[in-house]
């Protein structure tokens, strides 16, 4: 895997004022790999995820995507972001556009696809996430789980090399979590490269190639799910797992 790295972070540091939220982060994600990032609140896992497409700037270190370093700003950065899809905790569907228009917008604006072509692809993707009948609704008319599936379809419409998920199920009602996780499992099976920040341990066990455990801005463990959940090495991870698995 290491020979074909898609995302490579080396010595990444970030501060919020005096708070050192990312401390010497080294992380490599291979092509087709699913990496789940877990950890307590404030451990820096969301920041790590957002740094990969530069929604968060970093103070030092390097982040490379498919062999090229992240550009600073402007058009080059926009081009790179088009290659990396992102799914947010709060969905962030464009509130003034229909479901179909949400998915078509970036392919038309960024990839300069024709309207018919973009619409056809958008309908295919909606069918794939099981929402083919909702194309003409507005985001506010959908449930949270449906909105998040549309958001995944919107990200997929750009044919990204990798997908970043920033707590995709944390804002959902419990009964809607599974419909979103199922779509994500399917993507993982199809070989999509994914970085997933989540609290869903079941998903981590069943879909991840690696589990990265973060605490206080550092990567504490980086292992297979099997190893991590059955025999965590660090006290911090043992403590965390005992709190979330025993209730």
């Amino acid at each position: 895997m290491a020979g074909d790295a898609l995302i490579e972070m080396r010595g990444v540091n970030k501060y919020y004022g005096k708070l050192h939220v990312l401390q010497d982060i080294d992380l490599t994600v291979g092509r087709g790999e699913v990496v789940v990032v877990i950890g307590p609140s404030g451990s820096g896992k969301s920041t790590l995820c957002r740094a990969i497409n530069r929604l968060e700037t970093i103070e030092s270190g390097t982040i490379e995507l498919d062999g090229s370093p992240l550009p600073e700003e402007g058009k080059a950065l926009a081009r790179l972001r088009a290659e990396v899809g992102m799914v947010f905790q709060s969905f962030n569907l464009f509130a003034h556009k229909t479901v179909l228009a949400n998915i078509m917008l970036a392919p038309m604006k960024v990839r300069k696809k024709k309207k018919e072509e973009a619409a056809q692809r958008a309908r295919e993707l909606l069918d794939r996430v099981g929402l083919g009948s909702q194309a003409d609704k507005y985001p506010a008319q959908l449930s949270g789980g449906q909105q998040q599936r549309v958001a995944i379809a919107r990200a997929l419409a750009m044919d990204p090399k990798a997908l970043l998920f920033d707590e995709p199920t944390s804002a959902l009602d419990p009964e809607m979590i599974n419909e979103v996780l199922e779509v994500m499992r399917q993507l993982a099976r199809e070989g999509m490269t994914m970085v997933v920040v989540t609290h869903e341990m079941g998903f981590a066990r069943s879909a991840a190639n690696r589990v990265v455990f973060m605490a206080d801005g550092r990567i504490v463990e980086d292992r297979t799910p099997e190893d991590f959940f059955t025999a965590p090495r660090s006290e911090r991870a043992k403590d965390f797992l005992s709190k979330i698995l025993k209730h």
């Binding site: 497409n53 929604l55 700003e73 402007g74 058009k75 926009a78 081009r79 790179l80 972001r81 088009a82 290659e83 990396v84 899809g85 992102m86 947010f88 709060s90 962030n92 569907l93 464009f94 509130a95 003034h96 556009k97 917008l105 970036a106 604006k109 960024v110 507005y138 506010a140 958001a151 919107r154 990200a155 750009m158």
Partner: protein
Amino acid sequence: MNVLLDNLSLYGDGLLGTIELTVFASLLALVLGFVMAAFRVAPVGSLRAVGTVWVTVLRNTPLTLLFFAVVLGLPRFGLVLPFKLFAILALGCYTSAFICEAVRSGINTVPVGQGEAARSLGMTFPQTLGDIVLPQAFRSVIPPIGSTLIALAKNSAIAGAFSVTELLGVYKPLNELGYSIIWTFVWIAVGYLIVTLSISAIFNLLEKHLGVAR
């Protein structure tokens, strides 16, 4: 009543002058205001600085002083225009500072996540602003922009002091002709009401229409 009927063309010219000043200065203010608001939220530091200086200088200068600066200042740099154009320039630039701040406050009502989602899809700053943020900000900026343009209509009276034909200036010749000052001003006030209530009506309509759309 006589004062109006006897001098219908004088009142008419004044009203037309005020309408002309209001319409053209409003257009200028809207264009400049949106551009400056875009500058103020731009990722480029120098653009943000231009926007901030623009707003700070124009919003904090008394309008009369600005008129003097334009009418007396610009000709020194070789720019000689009709007084009416100078007046439109001064009014438009002055008001654009207020429009800019109204638009910016509207932009701030749009959740940050909307812009982040657009950027994460590879959209550039102008695309993000034009396709995602401004359409959603628009609804909440309609009322303050309406108020600002009403203020502009009334501020246009200052142009009268710089020999531009407008409504308030009508009182001078009428006063010399000996008409009752009270009735002279009552009809001037009615003229302003026609202009300002029209602006209100337009913005109420806009608000209703855009209230239906998402």
